[in-house]
């Protein structure tokens, strides 16, 4: 079980598809990074179809989180360390 579910998060999209999440991130945030599936964020490894788009808005990251039975959720979580990693280019 990932720690994400114990964190304070906002659900921007729920029970959706990876494609809709990618489009939402790319259309709604100016700062966007692309990573491969398996990219580690918090203590989970991102699931998805490459490239996975992650948005940055202030101190928050916006990213897809996939559950086998419920589809993909687009979550917003405060994450200063993860933003720093993305900006340093620890991505694709």
């Amino acid at each position: 079980m990932g720690c994400i579910e114990q964190m304070k998060y906002e659900v921007l999209l729920k029970n959706t598809s990876f494609k809709e999440c990618r489009e939402y991130v790319e259309n709604n945030f100016k700062e966007v990074y692309q990573v491969k599936p398996g990219y580690k964020m918090f203590d989970v490894y991102l699931i998805g179809v490459p490239p996975i788009s992650i948005g940055v808005d202030g101190d928050d990251v916006i990213f897809p989180y996939t559950k086998p039975c419920y589809g993909t959720f687009l979550l917003r979580i405060r994450a200063e360390e993860e933003i720093e990693s993305l900006r340093k280019g620890e991505v694709l």
Partner: protein, 149 residues
């Protein structure tokens, strides 16, 4: 002996458990060691159906499996991903990125054809639009797998 990973999806369709056990039996006969990853419910369905582990002996939590593959702590020769929804495509794509295994997509359910059309990377597709009757999908598997007599 080579090894194989089954990555199960949502167990809502009864086809998944039946096909997983059928495939595990065939691979076992070929001396291929099978590990199954899935949600708690998906694994529980397998264990209740195969209480003595005649077909599946090794199971692993889905998140732990992804972590170990991503960290390159483990890999497999073959990987069968069960796909019946969009999340299944996400898991299949992820396996394609983080594993060197020969990849098989077992695509089923009412959206099977649409889901299969989304797979645009190297992968053996086994597709049949069925949610309840496993027999047509079993026949597709028999066409793809060269079972020992």
């Amino acid at each position: 002996m080579s090894n194989a990973l089954f990555l199960l999806g949502c167990p809502e369709s009864p086809v998944q458990t039946a096909i997983a056990l059928y495939l595990a039996n065939g691979l076992k006969r070929g001396s291929i060691d099978v590990t199954v990853a899935g949600t708690k419910a998906a694994i529980a369905l397998l264990k209740v159906s195969d209480p003595e582990g005649n077909y599946v002996r090794k199971t692993v939590d889905l998140d732990s499996c992804i972590e170990n593959l991503a960290e390159k702590k483990v890999d497999f020769d073959l990987c069968f991903v069960f796909v019946r929804n969009d999340a299944g495509i996400s898991y299949l794509s992820t396996l394609s990125s983080i594993s060197d295994a020969k990849l098989f997509a077992i695509v089923f359910g009412s959206d099977a054809d649409a889901l299969a059309s989304m797979i645009d990377f190297e992968c053996e597709k086994i597709v049949y639009k069925t949610g309840h009757n496993p027999v047509p999908l079993k026949k597709r598997i028999d066409q793809v797998m060269a079972w020992d007599a």
